[in-house]
């Protein structure tokens, strides 16, 4: 087990060095998310009102969730690049843990997402968003957010190995995830939806994550009577654990065979 950890550590170290050496990547990972915060918070916030509070307070959790999803193609493209590089043959000819390359990529990308969160939080606080809970709950919220980012990074890694071209890696994740995103409580409270659609949206993992963030940060909730809507934190943890349990082994299995073309 210690050797496995050592392999993971080494590959995470490699990815963090990469990030430090690609300042353009840091810029692209922070600027657009900050623009989203202003766009949704100030512009939409001034036009949309929700029953139980301020839309600006409500939407922050949604934007945080959205940014984690829109980063999925980056991980997919990065994973595809890793595989296309002769370096993977070297890694595969070493007596190392096969999961290490993917762990390095997903942890590295999650670290980048943490930087994104810091930038977004700063802009959010500037435009008047507030966390109305304790420090512990606030941090727990960011913990769930990053766990969601980590889970989405694994989804990206898996998709990156399933597709064969950078174009597909760039578009496929959005095709799969954006409908899920819109059919959730990320952007809107679900009260106005027809019953069946509302049930789907309430049990959607993205609603669970957005709901958990709102609960932990003391922001206005999307409201709802279902078990999922009333217990967003356990639901979010359950969903993320479930997705990781499926996606991580699938991704590692794909990595073992992906380069044997």
């Amino acid at each position: 087990m210690t050797t496995v950890l050592e392999d993971w550590r080494a590959l995470v170290w490699r990815h963090l060095l990469h990030l430090r050496r690609m300042p353009d990547k840091l810029v692209s990972a922070t600027v657009l998310p900050m623009v989203f915060v202003v766009l949704f918070g100030v512009l939409f916030g001034s036009a949309i009102s929700i029953p139980n509070g301020d839309y600006r307070e409500f939407i922050m959790a949604g934007i945080f969730t959205q940014v984690m999803i829109t980063a999925v193609p980056n991980t997919a493209i990065g994973t595809l690049e890793d595989l296309g590089n002769g370096l993977v043959d070297r890694f595969r000819s070493l007596p190392m843990t096969p999961s290490a390359v993917l762990v390095g990529r997903t942890v590295g990308d999650t670290a980048l997402r943490a930087v994104t969160c810091v930038a977004m939080t700063a802009v959010g606080l500037l435009i008047g968003w507030r966390i109305d809970s304790g420090v512990g709950a606030a941090l727990a919220g960011f913990g769930i957010l990053l766990l969601f980012g980590f889970t989405m990074a694994w989804v990206g890694a898996l998709l990156g190995m399933k597709v064969r071209s950078p174009e597909a890696a760039a578009s496929m994740p959005s095709v799969l995830l954006m409908p899920l995103m819109f059919l959730s409580s990320a952007y809107i409270p679900l009260g106005g939806l027809p019953g069946w659609l509302r049930a789907i949206a309430e049990w959607n993992p993205i609603s669970a994550v957005a709901g958990a963030l709102r609960e932990l940060w003391g922001n206005p909730a999307a409201a709802g009577d279902s078990f999922a809507a009333r217990n967003p934190v356990p639901m979010a943890l359950l969903w993320l654990a479930l997705i990781l349990a499926v996606v991580v082994p699938a991704a590692v299995r794909n990595y073992r065979t992906a380069a044997t073309r």
Binding site: R14, H18, R90, L94, P95, A100
Partner: protein
Amino acid sequence: MDHAIRAEGLRKRYGDNQAVDGVDLLVPAGTILGVLGPNGAGKTTTVRMLATLLPPDDGHAVVAGHDVTKDPKAVRAKIGLTGQYAAVDQRLTGRENLYLIGVLHRLGRRAAKARADGMIERFGLAEAADRLSRTYSGGMRRRLDLAASLLADPAVLFLDEPTTGLDPASRNDLWAMIRSEVAGGLTVLLTTQYLEEADQLADRVAVIDKGHVIADGTPDELKRKVGEERLDVTVAHAADAPAVAAALARATTVSPTVTPDGRTVSMTVPGGMLGIPTAMAALGEARVEIVDLAVRRPTLDDVFLALTGGARAMERSAA
């Protein structure tokens, strides 16, 4: 004698393409085997199977004392692999690249650092060690790649077309490094498209075509099959080529071949250089317009033409 590599009946198919079709290889420890063949002959697929990157469909192989399919991890601990493209991380420095490989070889962080520093010195990379490898020249990147492959003292080194894209000086450097490693007991399997490279480095050569080993022996044995010197006569008009071939055949009793473009007549020269005047005289009598005349050493194309009975010209146009 101990065999560092023993492969029997290796097969691999990709869809309709039987890339490797029953390859047997035997490499005694401490020697270099050159695997010679054109693009698509199955060289890389064979190396990938031996280096545990690719499971064979059939057959089995023992590398450095371990079976590649039953115990790939034990094989990986004892091999180094340098593929066709320098497998270095371009966003890491040379030193960081080697350190990473050392850690992944489970040397421990401190030993990996020390070993990386040692390899930097040994491969003449001291000045560039702390620059990103992206800034390296092709030759330096290859040296770094080789250093990474040798870092953990492997018993067997696979070199898959290691000098592709290198200038002659870097190529000679690389050859010298490989020779000195073998002098230290390393076993090498080298794939190449160049007879000269196999000639310079290999103790034995296996010629591979369409997934089969079609000949093997020492470089000298192979070259004897082809003849030492070759004469190429290029005529101005393709229509004259058969007349030239006939004239040369009459004068020397060797039957020349005509290249696919129909303008160059190629043959071995019996008696080496001393046979040249006879050939020249025959050309004079043929009275055709000749644009080029060259005496050269055999190339892989010639080995192929000889081994496949001249029935098949290689697709490779640049010889």
